[in-house]
């Protein structure tokens, strides 16, 4: 009995969990998506205390812990604050590599927006570049209604 381990070939049981979800976006987030979908507009909400404009919108400013109720339309244009060129692929990624993923500071927004950068050779993307939102032809009220940000 002492040597039984040497005779064992380890078994691996393969499985998969596939669970559909229905995530509630809420009134605040829905209004943002409706703006993207129907008017190709980007809206943020402003905190009444610290005045930060949140894009995407947050119903509550965590810093001040008050509700944000003032809608502010921000520009479809912004500046590339940082970026990377992703060279590896994974099934969860929104596009085939090389894909450019970066921080875009929209004109009028308090924080940045993380999204894809496209319409340009990845090797030519630069810090501080001015970009503009390119909307998807078919818009369904999701964050991918913005296809990517392209150079102005």
């Amino acid at each position: 009995m002492g040597d039984w381990k040497s005779e064992v070939k380890n078994i691996v049981y393969e499985g998969q969990i596939k669970v559909p979800y229905k995530w509630n976006v809420g009134e605040t987030g829905s209004r943002f998506f409706i703006g993207l979908r129907d008017k190709q507009e980007i809206w943020g909400v402003q905190c009444p205390q610290c005045k930060k404009v949140y894009v995407p919108p947050l119903k509550t400013c965590g810093t001040c812990f008050v509700n944000t109720d003032q809608w502010v339309k921000v520009a479809n244009t912004g500046t590339v604050e940082s970026f990377t060129v992703v060279n590896y692929s994974h099934g969860m990624q929104p596009a085939k590599p090389p894909l450019v993923y970066g921080l875009i500071k929209l004109d009028g927004a308090g924080g940045s927006f993380v999204h894809l950068i496209g319409g340009i050779d990845p090797a030519k993307v630069a810090m501080g570049m001015k970009v503009k939102a390119v909307f998807a032809d078919k818009r369904e009220g999701t964050i991918l209604d913005i296809k990517h940000f392209a150079p102005v």
């Binding site: 691996v12 969990i17 940082s82 970026f83 990377t84 992703v86 994974h90 099934g91």
Partner: protein, 397 residues
Amino acid sequence: MGKKVAIVGFGQTYQRSSRRDVNGVELINEAVTAALADADITIKDIDAVVIGNMDHFEGINYVDMWSVEGAGAVMKPIIKVTTGGTTGMTVAMSAYYHVASGMFDRVLAIGWEKNSESDTTGAIITAFHPVWERPNLGGAIAGLAVEASKYMDNYGVTERDGARVAVRERLHALNNPYAHLHQEWMKGMEVDKLVELLVTSEQNQMLAYPLRMSDMCPRTDGAAAVVFASEGVAEKTASKLAWVAATANRHDFVFLGDIDWDFNQTMGDAAKKVFAKAGIKDPLKEIDLCELYLPYSYGGLKWMENMGFCGPGEGPRLLWDKITDMDGELPVNPSGGVMSSNPIGATALLRVGEAAWQIMRKSGPRQVQKNVNYALATGFGGCSWADVMLLSSKKPA
């Protein structure tokens, strides 16, 4: 104020890419058995258990129930804690709180992961917001790459600086028999030569600029366990103790775009909090050793600055001046760190255990020469949250 708390024992499995010879529960048991042996106690001496992992890596939600035999928690209080990358540290903090409350004398903290059992990137993505961030997420590595790019642009930091962090971690790992990555080929080679190889070799794939394969942590199967005990009990349990001087955790924003990409606010503030509590004014001089949760190389530069070990943009200087090497003024990650072993739910608890062992002088080949009075252990999660713990050789006042 609560009771003073000390670490009296630490155990871990050998960290490996895949452990097909054991299931998760059996893996957990190896670490628990080692920690109990290290503290020279038995499971009967444990009053409560805190356990953690990241559910999606194994597809199991109730690890507190599911692991109960292996964890040694049958008919005992057991609580599961899951906070993503910080899980191992949150487990340690929770065990500390249990003991500090005065309600439990000895509490076992367990962190574990079997990353070989699923798709690590796919599972990590579940940490991001399903509506706002998952659909356009560049991948698990992309966010860190964006952070590194901005940091490099801000301070003129180069790929060589990042590679120098990777070289430090991998060279240190050669002294740690438990580490997952043992890059034996690096042994005896000049640091400059290794840095040069990492930034020029085509085999070292550029995953997402500026991050190459060598800049990233691996995915690991492994477990860790740490025993916390209260003052009065701790001194009778073990002759070598590592006291918890202070602990803190911080979260800031949910959306990646809202965080401050120039300054790791959560890590900086949590570190500042524990230093203030321990009366530490000059961290570089007063902290003797760090076991930091650095999932990627540039964290070893930027986050050092944000924690106050040096000024903005000075991270590379600390590194190239050998201050953070094994025999430097502030050794960082003598274990080889996260970039050498990353069983995610155990990763931050390994930082705590490794830091404690350095204070206890039980680290074997990876023991630093200098005396370790204060050791800092950190945990990092997802898009920038932090849990930190400061350990001390002396019972806190």
